[in-house]
């Protein structure tokens, strides 16, 4: 590991109004697993895009094995042995696995030979994959396998992985790590981007920490606590959310035999879901993305209708009611996608406050809108939830992800819901904002509201929810108290490893 593979020195990249990377330098050795840590907006993605040739640095040099390295485009980077697994998969839903892989290769063999090689490599690394399947029907874990195999087929020297585990079950994560360790043992360097600190502690040899585009520290993850690394990322001490110890009340929301057909082609239908949600309780629903989370939120919020008796709110059947009627009763929801679903990107925060608050906050009288009241409601949300914005007149899209998420969650919490359903409340939100949102949800439950949190962040669910269940292919697992759950049990509830097996690299060596 003494030999340096890639050396980065003084890389700077500025965009209008923001410096994404400022004088970033570090080295990656041959076979080293190097973590790149940082909050959202710290400049991790820009940095790896420069290595992969998608973005050109303003100043600074890179050297690869001692040679100057400045890829003008991804093609050149790939030819030099750089491969990348993207955070938002760069896959094509309507094409099959082999076609997707061919698109990421420089000189792909004919499709039939390629299918053969995909089978061989997937066998060797324990990542089973059928080359003829359409990518649109694959699970998130399987899609990631497509990306990884696409990289492996090119015999990479440096594999860049951008947040690879956010979509995997714990078992799948273990198997992925096993594969990565084998790769590293073969001499492939891995640049691993994540903000899951425990994972980095188990996997990575060294870590470089970025904050606001600058390198603020390096450490050996196995010898540093997760808390220390988090505080280096954030630059300040972190507050851990505190639950209240309020006894649970009556059943507020009761779901029995809920089955809903998914409206989209590649969606997941809900199959016979049962659960009760009590006042003062937070029920966490985990599961890998695409297993019915969006559909569950839509069915509960009223965006899609269900059988009338399947959903009962304080004993009254509401399955056929629309979102506005449900909001009137006190059942509110905040969906996952901030821009375009939870908030209208081009509308101001006042207008967005009006959109969901009009009935409960009485912002509407006889069909006329009370903009003054809407504005003060928006200001109230901004103040209570510490949303960083010049004012309620700003468009939703101008806010950063974390700030908009605080606004979206705050807007619902401040309408005093009896039942609140949130999907991915802290997705893509930095640690400080995530802690604030979690605390707000805990406080809401402390006041006697029932809260349903759908999330893919298991640490989050373990931290705030009293009971846990997992969605797997549209079915809900048994509901278990979180206190006595182990990671293995959670993984099994989430559907296990979807047929993955640990890499048997020996076959490759033969």
């Amino acid at each position: 590991m003494s030999e340096t593979l890639l050396s980065i020195s003084g890389l700077t990249k500025a965009y209008p109004g923001v410096v994404a990377n400022s004088d970033v330098s570090f080295d990656i050795g041959v076979g080293e697993v190097h973590a790149l840590l940082g909050e959202n907006g710290a400049g991790k993605s820009t940095l790896v895009k420069m290595i992969y040739g998608l973005v050109k640095p303003d100043t600074g040099q890179m050297t690869l094995r001692g040679q100057p390295f400045a890829p003008p485009e991804p093609r050149a980077a790939r030819l030099d042995g750089i491969a990348m697994v993207f955070q938002h998969f760069s896959l094509f839903d309507a094409l099959n696995v082999a076609e997707n892989i061919a698109l990421g290769m420089e000189n792909p063999p004919p499709l039939r030979d390629l299918a053969q090689r995909i089978c061989e490599v997937s066998e060797t690394y324990g990542l089973p994959l059928d080359p003829d399947r359409t990518v649109g029907v694959l699970s998130a874990g399987e899609r990631q396998r497509v990306e990884i195999i696409r990289c492996l087929l090119q015999d990479p020297k440096l594999l860049i992985m951008d947040e690879p585990t956010s979509v995997l079950t714990p078992q799948e994560v273990d198997i992925l790590f096993e594969t990565l360790r084998k790769l590293s043992a073969e001499g492939t360097a891995i640049l691993y981007i994540s903000h899951k600190l425990e994972e980095i502690r188990t996997l990575c040899d060294t870590a470089t920490i970025l904050r606001l585009g600058k390198v603020v520290g390096t450490c050996t993850p196995s010898e540093t606590t997760a808390r220390d690394m988090a505080e280096m990322m954030v630059g300040s001490a972190l507050k851990t959310p505190e639950p209240s110890n309020r006894p649970l009340g009556e059943v507020a929301l009761s779901v029995t035999g809920l089955s809903v057909e998914s409206p989209s082609n590649f969606g997941t239908s809900l199959k016979n879901i049962h659960f009760d949600l009590r006042q003062g309780e937070i029920l966490g629903i985990g599961g890998v993305a695409g297993n019915g989370q969006d559909e569950l939120l839509a069915a509960l919020s009223g965006e899609t209708r269900a059988a009338n008796d399947a959903i009962k709110f304080n004993g009254a059947a509401i399955g056929q009611m629309g979102p506005t009627e449900r909001r009137n009763l006190g059942l509110l929801a905040a969906p996952e996608e901030r821009l375009g679903h939870a908030a209208a990107p081009n509308m101001s925060l006042t207008e967005n406050a009006m959109l969901t608050g009009s009935t409960r906050k009485k912002l509407e009288k006889n069909g006329f809108l009370d903009w003054g009241a809407a504005r003060s409601f928006a200001e109230h949300v901004i103040k209570q939830f510490d949303v960083r914005t010049p004012g309620p007149g700003n468009a939703a899209r101008s806010l950063s992800g974390g700030n908009l998420q605080k606004f979206v969650i705050g807007r619902e919490v401040l309408q005093d819901p009896d039942v609140l359903i949130v999907n991915q409340p802290t997705w893509g939100v930095d640690a400080a904002a995530a802690a604030a949102i979690r605390q707000a949800l805990l406080d809401l439950a402390g006041k006697g509201a029932a809260v349903l949190v759908i999330s893919q962040d298991l640490d989050e669910l373990m931290e705030i929810s009293g009971r846990f269940a997992a969605l797997n292919e549209g079915r809900l697992s048994d509901i278990r108290p979180t206190a006595d759950l182990t990671v293995e049990e959670i993984g099994l509830m989430m559907g296990g490893a979807h047929g993955m097996e640990v890499a048997h690299i020996e076959e490759l060596a033969r």
Binding site: V55, F92, A94
Partner: protein
Amino acid sequence: MDFSSINPALLVAALMVSSTPILLAALGEMVVERAGVLNLGVEGMMIMGAVTGFVVGFNTEIPALGFVAAAGSGALFALLFGLLTQVLLSNQVATGLGLTLMGLGLSSLIGKPYEGMKAPSLPKIDFGPLSDIPFFGRVLFGHDAIVYLSLGMVAAVWYVLRHTRIGLILKAVGENHDAAHSLGYKVVRIRLAAIAFGGACAGLGGAYLSLVRLPQWTEGMTAGAGWIALAIVVFASWRAGRVLVGAYLFGGLTVLQLNLQAAGMTAGVQYLSMSPYLITILVLVLITSGRFKGAHSAPASLGRLFEVTR
């Protein structure tokens, strides 16, 4: 009524001729849409092809040159759309509609001096004794080069989309332009090429109208053929083979209803005139529903603007 006046061989042969403009335009538009671009300017590109083809063919008296010029002018006109939508990021629907309006106006300006004149005729290809085979001789071996070219292009487009890397990249760009970009494909360039190809096809189709079918220049002579081509692309669910079926079905019904009218069928002439539109849409809807439903839907990036972000 006298149905004996309708000769099946002539009917089929006429059907192929009458369908060719729509087939060419629809095939080109299908490629454009597979690359993720919605160009509603097909009608405008066709009529620009029609007028250019006629003017060049008339002045040089070489119809082949007319077709080449028509393809060129269609492609150029389409690239105007490409510049606006791909480089300057204007709205595709509005730009496409503008292209149609502009094409209709510009073509009537260019074509004004040529009204009422007759185009040089495009010779039929001589297959010798083959064309004497009863029925098939007339149907298969009695056409001009463009009819064969159009059929060849259906096969070529099918093959390219299905079996070549270029086709795969084109589909990838239409499916997810962000992913294609992050893999290093030149989304804008690929789309511009597709748009130019679509324009050239539409131009050829238009020239076939003014040089072979009528053959003369009349203002607004495409008469909605471009819109039919657009509809056929959608109902054919973006597949070359079904575009052929749709275009021939529409052309066939048009020829048939004209023959029926000529044969003396007087009841409900309006319904007869309307029938090609109705039946084509009905049949294509039936093809795309049922068993094939969802198996092949629109390119996911169709009509979406592509902007390079960081």
